[in-house]
Every structure is written in C-alpha cells, then in structure tokens.
C-alpha cells in the first residue's frame, strides 16, 4: 500500500484509511488509482478550504463502514469521495475497473444508490432501498431489527455506541476508533485533521526590510529624475492665483471676545428716528388655568365641546389645544405642536403686517347721552287707563272732540263709533256701510261735526272729482249732514283750524289727489295743477295759510293764498306714512314706514333736525299734543312711544327731544299694531287705536 502512505492530503485519506486497512487487495488498488487520479486537483484546495474539508470528513465518516444503525448521524448529503469505499466494499465484484473514471471529480453524485435526490421514506414499504449503477436492486438487510433487537444490541454489543446506520444502503456501520476521534474533534469545533496547524507563521514576500537587491531589475524612469512639467504648471497656476488674490492665506483666528459691553458708549437718551415708527409686536398671551397639566375640573371640555372643537377650523378655535388632565407629572407627554407654535410666532414676528390700532377704551355708561330725567318732564301718559272695546275689526282711525269729551273711531267693520272718553262707553254706533279710512272732528268749538272718509261702492254717477249732496230728512235725523262723493276712494280727511275748510286725499294718480272743500259755501277745489307723486297725508298749518302735503319721499309746504310752493322738506326716508304739525307751527314730524320718525325744524333747514329710530317696525301715526310739549308715535310693533318735544320761543335754542315713555298694550294682529294715535286736547292723555279692534287711553 505505498499509495496510501504518500497521500498528500491527509484529510481526504482519513476516511478511507480504516476501510483500506481491513479490505482486500482490489480495493486498495482501486483507492490507489483514485488517489493518483484526483490528487492533483484536490491537494491544492484541501489545504485552503478547511470548511469544506470538515464537512467532507463528516459525511464520509457516516458512510464508510456502512454496517449498523446509529441514531446520531444521518446525512443524506452526497459526496463523491465518500461513496468510494462502501460501494466498493459492498459490490466488490461489480465495482472495480469501470468506476474509476466516473468518479473523477469531486462533485459526482453518490453512485452507490441511484435513486437520486428523493426522500428515502418512499422505499419504506419495499424490500430494497434503491438501485445500483447497473439497475439492480439494493436490498435492505434481510431482517429488520425491531426495538427489542436494538435494545439487546444496546445491552450486549459493546460497540453499539459507535454503530451508525447508512441510510443509502440500509446497513449499519461500525465506526473505527479514528473515525470516532474525528467525530469528537468536530464536535469540539476543531479541525478534522489532527496534524493541521491553523496558526502557521505567515511568510511575507514583500517585507518592510530593505533588501540589498531590488525586487525588479528594471532601470529607473527618466521622469523620475526630470522635474515634472505638470507639477510645475500646477505650481505656477497657484502662484498666479496667489498673485491675483484668488487664493488667500488662512485667516488668523479672531481672538477678540465675542461678547463685550455693547452699550458702553451709548447715549441712554438717544432715540433713533426710525424707532418712532416702531410698532412693537404684541406679546404672547400668558397661559391660563386651562393650559395646566392638572386643570380645575370646570376647565375640562365636555364631550360636545370636544367635538365642536375638532370640527372648528384651526383659526377659529379659541384655544389652540384641548385641555387634558393628567394624574401626575410623570404622565405628561411631550406637546406635539411645540415647534410649530414657536415657528408660528416667528412667522408672526417677521411676516405679519403691523398696525397701531387705537382700542376704544370707553366706559359704556359714558356713551349714553345725558338726558333730563323723564320724571322732571312730567306730565306725560304713563299707564293704560281705559280700553274701549266694541269694534269687530281693526280700528283705522280715531279723533277726539275739541272739548275732549268725546271720541270718534272708524273701523274696518263698516261703522263709526262715538265714545265717551271718561267712561269708555260707546254712545253711538253709526253704520256707514264701508271701510272707514279716516275720521276727523271739526276743531271749531261751537260746531259738533265729524268728517268721516268712507270707502263705499260708487252708486252715484261720477260728476267731476267731487260732488256734494245734502243729506235727506231721515238721514239728517240720523245725524248725517252732508255727503260728498268722490270719484276715487278717500284716504284721509282733515280740517282746517277754523273748521270751515276740509281737505281730502284721494287715492288717485294725477293732480286731483288733494281736494279742499269749503263747507259754508259748499264749494270744492283742487289746488294743484301737477302731481308730485302719490300724496300720503295732508295737514293744514295751525296758524298760517299753509298746506303741508306729504308725498312718498318728501313733504311740501304750500302757501295757499299766494298759491306757491314755499318749502320742500326732505325726510330722507323711503315712504312717509304720517305727518303732524307742531301747534306753534314751526316744527313738523313725519313718520315713515322704514321705522323712522323725522323731526323738522322749519326755521333751521329743510333737512331733518333729528331722526329718531325708536320703533322696531313701521310707523303708522304720529301726533302732537296741542298744549303740552309732547308728541307720540304709534307703530306696527304694538307700542306707542311718547316723547317730550320742547320747542323754545328762543330761536337760538334747538328743540329738546327726550323719549319719556314706551306704552304697550295693543296686541299684534296680522302683523299690525297701533294704527292711529291722538292726544287729548286738554289733558296729557294719549289715545291709540289698534289692529286688535280696541282703542286705548293712556294717562
């Protein structure tokens, strides 16, 4: 066995050694042949690839004896070298000769069993475990050993611990002492080869020592002793750059202190001019209780508030965070929006336009004008005294007799009622057969006469704008004195102060809207030749021969004798509804549907002296008291507001207007409240008629 002895790679030989030692001559020849064939390639690798070597060792060790069943090692990995010995040993007759070239290379397959890479469990039910190279079956050992046999073996066989089973052949293999030693070494993590020294000293070819002989024999380059042009160019470029000041020497480090007394030489009182325009940024608000980590319970939002907060836009929120309680300081987490908030502040500081805003810092009490107390302005009506009930429908108009004893009222139910003022008794009901638009008591103290504007169906043929008819005998007994038919419905009647003239307003387009009737002469005339919009109200001037005509947008003052327009008052409201003249004659008030009451001082100007917006809704009626400095306005909001309106004889002093009482009593019906107001001629009482079908007296 000389070939065995001079095997160059001991690791490879180990496995086959024991096999060879007790095998016959053919095998030894075979192995020798194999060695000579494969060594040249494997020697070189064996020394270097230690890892590979060990795995090979292991694999080989399993199989080489191929005799006994051992539980410890089962390795289906395939190595060409490991196949050699067992195969040759089992099928001695067939193997030699032909195989030697087939298993030339190390990555050959295991050729003892040609089943390939399939699980060997598939052969559990067969008597064989596979096929050899010639296609013959490889049979399992005849008698499968059961547990008892194994146990007996374990007890009897002293070599039981070193027998393993080769799964490829089904035979048990008894490991030799060297193989066992190998296994043990591998288990300890050592190299398989005993003689291998992993820590051999490294031989360094190119050592740091200076040798006397050069490594190469090449002569030195020319460029090694000629100055470099490239470097020269570089240097010259740098020199040029330095000359030109492109490259500067390193700046010496600044050793002056970074902080010093900056304001040492500052004149403390110097204020730069620019600072005058400086608008300091508003300070951030300091945190309140709700920002605490453990706020009082009342500052915690309820669930609805939380929801509302979440649904709000971030800009709308009152607090930028939701108050949250924490049981202790250690439970408080970091605030997520900390950096954002600081950043927003930064943005505000340099991006937000600043403006000095003068905050109005007034006591609201100071805003309230100082007016004389209402108590000092007495007498004026303060409370509701009487209610006159009887009308079935809304009471459009009312009028008080000049002596103040009687009250006439006209209603939508087609009747005029006469009341006794003091007792609220209805003295008389006069059915007039139509909606009563207006009633007016003749101001002449000796005549007891009421003018009533009634809207009836025209039964009489139309003759001109107006047509007077004396009442018949029986009608006279009923009290009717004179009947004047108009072509169009009359909206208002009013008396001249003497009681002779009667002005009527017709709801007609054109110039015949205002008619003036003279009772004594039974004569009518239409004073205007041209119309200026729809006339709302007319009123006679109490002292002078003037007629005031209120159209929708303005009030005109006509001189009746000279027959000319004297003044045009501009109340600046959308739709004038009512008009009243001060008994002294210089002042006019005007109510409008846009809930304004306008006071004109005609001596002052044609513009309003004062506009009072006391009512919430449209004004329906205004009235002056003939004696006391009072005026009242009734409105759709159901209230009557009584104001003190003092007009001084001194022309330099402007009228004093003070609201003194808001009188409420009328119920709202169909969105209408007070329809008409009138003062008692002698007492500081005010009457009002409302849409609820009542008249009320406030005293």
């Amino acid at each position: 066995q000389p070939s065995l002895l001079d095997a160059p790679a001991p690791s490879r030989r180990l496995g086959s050694d024991p096999g060879l030692s007790d095998s016959d001559s053919e095998e030894s020849v075979f192995s020798g042949l194999e060695d000579s064939g494969s060594d040249s390639t494997e020697d070189a690798t064996a020394s270097e690839e230690e890892g590979e070597g060990t795995s090979e060792q292991r694999g080989r060790m399993d199989r080489s004896p191929g005799q006994q069943v051992g539980p410890e090692v089962t390795s289906p990995t395939v190595f060409p070298s490991q196949a050699r010995t067992p195969c040759s040993r089992m099928e001695v007759a067939s193997m030699p000769g032909e195989d030697e070239y087939a298993e030339d290379s190390s990555d050959e397959e295991d050729i003892r069993n040609t089943v390939g890479n399939v699980p060997l469990e598939w052969y559990d039910d067969f008597p064989h475990v596979g096929y050899d190279l010639d296609g013959r079956r490889i049979y399992k050992p005849l008698r499968t050993r059961d547990e008892l046999d194994q146990f007996l073996d374990k007890m009897d066989d002293p070599d039981y611990w070193r027998t393993v089973r080769d799964r490829m052949t089904g035979h048990s293999v008894r490991l030799t002492g060297e193989q066992v030693a190998l296994v043990q070494r591998l288990q300890r993590g050592q190299f398989g080869d005993v003689s291998f020294n992993p820590y051999e000293p490294a031989v360094d070819f190119f050592s740091g020592d200076l040798m006397i002989h050069p490594v190469t024999n090449r002569p030195a380059d020319k460029r090694s002793f000629i100055p470099s042009l490239v470097e020269k160019e570089k240097v010259s470029r740098m020199v040029h750059a330095i000359k030109m000041g492109w490259i500067q020497p390193r700046r010496p480090r600044d050793h002056s202190p970074s902080f010093y007394d900056l304001w040492a030489q500052e004149d403390p009182n110097a204020v730069l001019g620019r600072h005058k325009m400086h608008v300091p940024a508003p300070k951030l608000a300091l945190p309140g209780h709700s920002e605490s980590y453990n706020p009082p319970p009342e500052y915690l939002p309820s669930e609805e508030e939380c929801l509302a907060w979440e649904q709000q836009e971030p800009e709308e929120r009152k607090l930028s965070f939701l108050p949250r309680p924490f049981p202790s300081l250690r439970a408080v987490p970091a605030y997520g929006r900390f950096i954002q908030e600081r950043f927003e502040r930064c943005l505000d500081l340099y991006l937000c336009p600043r403006q000095r805003k003068m905050r109005v810092n007034v006591d609201p009490e100071d805003l309230i004008p100082k007016l004389p107390r209402p108590r000092d302005l007495q007498p004026f009506p303060t409370c509701q005294a009487l209610v006159y009930r009887g009308h079935n429908s809304l009471v459009r108009c009312l009028s008080v007799s000049p002596d103040g004893q009687w009250l006439a009222s006209g209603s939508d139910d087609g009747s005029v009622r006469l009341w006794e003022v003091a007792t609220a008794r209805c003295m008389r009901t006069v059915p007039v057969g139509g909606v009563v638009k207006s009633v007016a008591w003749n101001p002449h103290p000796t005549v007891c006469l009421v003018a009533v504007a009634v809207c009836v169906r025209p039964g009489v043929p139309r003759v001109g704008p107006a047509h007077g008819l004396e009442a018949s005998q029986e009608e006279r007994q009923d009290g009717l004195w004179l009947r004047i038919h108009h072509g169009k419905p009359v909206t208002q009647v009013t008396w001249h102060g003497r009681g002779d003239y009667l002005a009527a307003v017709l709801a007609t387009p054109g110039h015949t809207q205002v008619l003036i009737h003279q009772l004594s002469r039974r004569r009518s005339q239409s004073p205007f030749r041209r119309s200026h919009g729809q006339v709302q109200r007319v009123a006679f001037h109490p002292t002078r021969p003037f007629l005031l005509v209120a159209s929708q947008r303005c009030v005109r003052l006509y001189h009746l004798l000279r027959q000319e327009l004297t003044k045009k008052l501009m109340p600046n409201c959308k739709w004038v509804s009512s008009l009243a003249v001060h008994p002294a004659g210089d002042n006019v008030i005007c109510g409008s549907y846009d809930s304004k009451l306008v006071w004109f001082d005609m001596d002052l100007s044609t513009k309003p002296y004062r506009v009072l917006r006391h009512h919430k809704k449209a004004l329906r009626a205004v009235a002056f008291h003939p004696r006391y400095p009072l005026f009242a306005s009734g409105s759709d909001d159901g209230s009557v507001i009584v104001c003190h309106g003092m007009v001084y004889n001194d022309l330099l002093q402007n009228p004093l207007l003070v609201p003194v009482k808001v009188l409420k009593g009328h119920a709202l019906t169909r969105d209408l409240g007070v329809l008409d107001v009138a003062f008692h001629p002698t007492q500081p009482w005010v009457f009002s008629s409302g849409a609820d079908g009542t008249l009320r007296l406030f005293t």
Binding site: R250, R251, F259, Y260, D261, L262, W263, E266, P268, N269, A270, L272, R274, H275, M277, P280, A281, K283, L284, L286, P287, H289, E291, S292, Y293, N294, P296, P297, E298, Y299, S302, S328, L329, R330, V332, A334, Y335, F338, I339, E341, R342, F343, R345, C346, L349, Y350, C352, P353, R354, V360, P364, L367, I368, L371, P374, R375, H614, V658, P659, V662
Partner: protein, 594 residues
C-alpha cells in the same frame, strides 16, 4: 396722483426686494435680523395706487435703512463661497475644499443688536426685549430635536449656553418668580431688573420633526437672539461684577476628567451643573446687590411723586413698599433650610432650578447625573420628591411629596400643607400663576382657598368646608335631628294653616250678616325696586336716543361684557355639577361600604 402722501411712504415687498437686489430668502433673513416687518397702511387702496390686490407693504424708510446694511455684502460673499465650494466638491478638488473652508466668510451681528429698536434703550430696560419676545426666544433656543441638519451643532450648544447662563443668573439672584406646568411645557417667570421675563421649556422628550416648519427662519431667529442674549448677559453679569462668559469650563473639565465620566461633559447636564456650581458665588453677590437696588428703587419712587402728596400719604406708601419688599424677600427664601432629594422619575432640571432659586438645597441619585451632593440615605433630607407611588420603604423624618408641591408652593409664595401632595394621592388642580382675576371673572375655588391661605388664615379654617362635607356624609344622626326640626316646623306650619282656616270659617259666618266688603289686597310697593325700575327705564330711553354709531359701539361693548359673564357663569355651573357628582359618588361609595 399717488405721488405724494402715504403712497410714497410705502413700498411693496417685491419692489423692496428688487431695490435691495436680494433673493427672497436673503431678504427674509435680513428682515429678521434687522427687525423689519411689514406695516399695514391706513388707507390701503391709496397706498396700493388704486388697486385692491392683497400686498404686503414695508415702510420705504425701513428699506432705505436696509440699503446701507453691511451684512448684505456678507450674504453675497457667503453665496459666492458656497458656489465655489460646490464647484470644488464637484471636481473632487479636496485641497481647494480645505482651503475654502479655512476661509469661510462669517459675519457679526453686534452692530445690528445695537441698533435694533427697543434694544438700544438704557441699560435698565435691556431685558425688556427678552420679555417681549420671550415666545420667540425660547423656541429659538430650545428646538432641540427640531434642529435642521444644516444648522451646526455648535450654534445649538451656544444657544443652550446662553440660556443656561440666564438660568444661572436668575438662580443666582433669586429672580425667579413663578413656575407653571402646562401641557405644552414648563413656563418660568423671572424678574430681571424689574422686568418680568417669561420663557417656556418643553418637557424633556425628543420631538418629532414637523415637516411644515421652515427651519431656516428659526435658525435665523436663533442666531440673532443668541447674540442678543449674549450681550445682555454680559451686561447683567457685569453689573454683578462677574465675568462673562463664566470661566468655569477648564476647572470642570479637569475635575470631570479625573472624577466623573467624560461622556456627561457633552450633554446639557454638565452645563447645568456648571450653572449650579456657579450659583453659589453669584447668589452671594446678588444678595449683596439686591437690597441696594431695592432701596434705590424705593428712594426713586416717592421722589418723583413727592410734590403734592402729603407726608402721611408718603409714609403710608413707604409702609406699603416696605411690606412688599419684605414679602419679596420672604418669597426668595421660601425653601431656605430645606434639603430636597429628587427621585429619578421627576424632571430633574426644572426642579433643581426652581428649588435652588428659592434657596433650597437639592440633590439626586449619583448614578443619575453628575452633580449629586448627598445620598438618599442622608438623614438631613426634609423633602423627597417622588412621582411613582409606593415604590420604596419610607424613611422617617422626611416628607414624600409629588413634584407639584414645589411648584404650587412657589406660586403661592408659601409652603403649602404637604398632605395634599403625598404620592399616590389625587392632586389638587395646578393653577396658572399668570392669571390675575379681575372683578366679575370666574375664580376657581382652589384659588380662593389659596388667597385665604396667603392672607394668613389657617389650614384648619381652610379645610372646614371639606370637613363639613364629610360631616354631612358621616353624621346621619345629625341629619335626622335636622329632619326632626323640619318636622316640627312642618307641624307649626300646619297649626298656622288650621288657624287660618278657622278664621276664614268664622269670617264666612259673619259675612252672612254684614254688608259685603271685599278686602282690597294690599300691594306692597317696594320703593327701592320701583326706583330701580324707573332708573332702568330711563336708561333704556336714553339708549334709544343714542346716535347710530355710538349705539353700535355700546352694543358691542355690552355684548362683550355679557359674553364674559356668560362664560364665567358657565364655568361656575360646570364646577357645581362636578362637585355634586363627586359628592354623590362619595356617598354611594360609603353606602356600598356599609
């Protein structure tokens, strides 16, 4: 048109930028550094030359002022430097890169600090900018995790150094006044030269990086305020005859190298420790100085007023001032003589700062941070600050309190009873010390209690209400007694009723005989009420007579007032409901226990 007046006083941003020949980023930086901000003109349309487009306007004077700013050139230099550097990098010319980096252009902000409005005021008012910009100052100083990558670490550390020196200063002069633990962070208020300065520090957690924040802007602000704070600190230190920046580093370095772990040096704790160690001498100096300044203030005050006021008034004023000063001194020595020990779960920096600035001595576990002076086992410890309940066996002779006690005590200016702050106990609410309630505002009951305590009423009186509650809960017997009384009352009532019925019957009997006279009901006219009504009516009428504009203003004011009242009422109601809920719960618990 538009050649005179306000149209010529303003300039739009873009025009300004073009005039200055700066990029937008540089323009912004310049504006931040120089403190230039847009102005809102009074008549925007006039200024905008008739157009109503939304534009921001700067004062043209401001822009002219920027025109001569030397720092603009520095910006340009820097831009060139960056360009060169990028080129060198691109060509991999590392030598050039090195060379360029050696000569990196830098600029100083000294002159800008000097000329900023409101800063160039006399020295006494210098800290004022700090207070006005406190909000900014801190963000800029403390966006620890939120720093951008490009801003250098050194900048941040310098910012921290400045802040640390401020804290050191306030610590040293006992200038700290108020502390507030909010959910956003901890607010501190210190008084430096009579000016209150408020700053906020976040809780010591790492922040996540918000992406919607422009860090360049923040970095510019930081840069400026760091410089400013440095100069202000210098001035303040100088006024205390101290050197700034304090030269303790080398000392600490050597010490630390020998004794402590060096890793701690780079952390902020070392800074803080340095601050703490410097607190000693500073405090001495501060104390030496403060009475002098106080007396100066006291002397200066009446002199200015003295003319008309009589001597008595002067005396009274002096007395008041003296009392105030005394109170302040007392407040400064709040924790004097107390020794604290901080457990490791409590915020150490904040607590150490607060306790030290009020004269207490504080220590913590040696393994926690350098600077610990004594151990847990030290028998002289009076208070141990604990936040986790039930973790160790208590040592007799010291109080275990939660950290809120320290802060509440500081805000209340007195040592609060510790019983409410034991570990594991439900804490009383932590109130903001920055809120001063005016008349009509809602005052939480805790605050009322606190005020009572401050006035000197004893804790016994204070707890009475609670005790009463408990008594109510406890004393069923008493309640029964009350019930009996009530029953008696009821009986008395019923007797009266019976009497009334009898008399009525008698009357009815009599009625048959007598002519019928209805007894008129007497209307009790409350004169006061009538007068009141009259007054209110007069007022209403007067309001009617107001002019339109005034009325609008009046309504607005009244609306605001009413809203305030409504809010206060809402809070009060909420509190009431809460208290009732708590009480009923307590009762239910008691019943269950029984």
């Amino acid at each position: 048109k538009y050649e005179r007046g306000s149209a010529t006083n303003y300039i739009t941003r873009n025009k300004a930028r073009k005039k200055l020949q700066l990029s937008l980023a540089d323009f912004r930086r310049l504006c931040i550094l120089k403190g230039i901000y847009p102005h809102e003109p009074k008549h925007k349309k006039k200024v905008n030359k008739g157009s109503t487009a939304a534009r921001t306007f700067y004062l043209i004077k401001d822009i002219k002022f920027l025109l001569h700013e030397p720092i603009v050139n520095k910006f340009r230099e820097y831009k060139v430097f960056v360009r060169k550097l990028r080129k060198a990098y691109g060509k991999s010319e590392w030598n050039t890169v090195e060379r360029l980096k050696d000569n990196k252009p830098n600029y100083k902000l000294d002159h800008i600090v000097k000329e900023r409005p409101a800063l160039g005021q006399p020295a006494e008012q210098q800290p004022q900018p700090g207070s006005s910009t406190a909000g900014v100052l801190t963000p800029a100083l403390r966006p620890q995790a939120g720093r951008p990558r490009n801003s250098s670490c050194s900048e941040r550390s310098s910012a921290n150094r400045e802040l640390a020196s401020v804290t050191r200063l306030s610590c040293g002069r006992n200038a700290n006044k108020k502390v507030f633990l909010s959910i956003k962070g901890i607010y501190y208020q210190a008084e430096v030269l009579g000016q209150p300065i408020v700053w906020i520090t976040p809780y010591t957690f790492s922040h996540d990086h918000p992406t919607d924040v422009d860090y360049r802007v923040m970095a510019t602000f930081t840069e400026f305020y760091t410089t400013l704070l440095g100069f202000v600190n210098f001035r303040l230190y100088q006024s205390l005859n101290l050197h700034y920046p304090p030269k303790l580093e080398s000392q600490v370095h050597t010490e630390a190298k020998t004794s402590e772990d060096t890793y701690a040096l780079n952390s902020e704790s070392s800074l803080e420790v340095r601050g703490a160690s410097s607190a000693g001498p500073a405090r001495k100096l501060g104390r030496g100085l403060s009475p002098a300044s106080a007396s100066h203030g006291a002397a200066g005050g009446p002199n200015s007023v003295s003319g008309p006021s009589s001597r008595q008034e002067m005396a009274a004023q002096e007395e008041d001032r003296r009392k105030e000063l005394e109170a302040q001194e007392k407040h400064k020595k709040l924790f004097e003589g107390l020794r604290f020990f901080l457990n490791r779960e409590v915020p150490r920096e904040a607590l150490a700062f607060v306790i030290r600035s009020f004269g207490g001595i504080v220590s913590w576990d040696k393994s926690l941070c350098i600077g610990a002076t004594y151990d847990v086992t030290d028998p002289s410890i009076t208070h141990q600050i604990v936040d986790r309940p039930g973790q160790q066996t208590p040592v007799i002779g010291r109080y275990y309190v939660q950290p809120q006690w320290v802060f509440d005590s500081v805000n209340a200016q007195l040592l609060l009873p510790v019983a409410d702050y034991f570990p594991g106990v439900q804490l009383p609410p932590h109130l903001s010390p920055f809120v001063t309630e005016k008349e009509g505002d809602y005052v939480p009951p805790e605050k009322l209690k606190l005020l009572a305590l401050q006035r000197g009423e004893h804790a016994g009186n204070l707890n009475e209400s609670e005790e009463e509650d408990e008594e109510e809960d406890d004393g069923d017997g008493e309640e029964e007694g009350e019930k009996e009384e009530e029953e008696e009352d009821m009986e008395a009532d019923s007797e009266k009723e019976e009497e009334a019925r009898l008399t009525a019957l008698e009357e009815r009997r009599l009625e048959g005989k007598k002519p019928k006279v209805m007894a008129g009901t007497v209307k009790l006219e409350d004169k006061q009420r009538l007068a009141q009504e009259e007054e209110s009516e007069a007022k209403r009428l007067a309001i009617m007579m107001m002019k339109k504009r005034e009325k609008y203003l009046y309504n607005k004011i009244m609306f605001g007032k009413k809203r305030k009242i409504r809010e206060a009422n809402k809070l009060a109601e909420k509190r009431k409901a809460h208290d009732e809920a708590v009480r009923s719960e307590k009762k239910a618990k008691k019943v269950r226990a029984l």
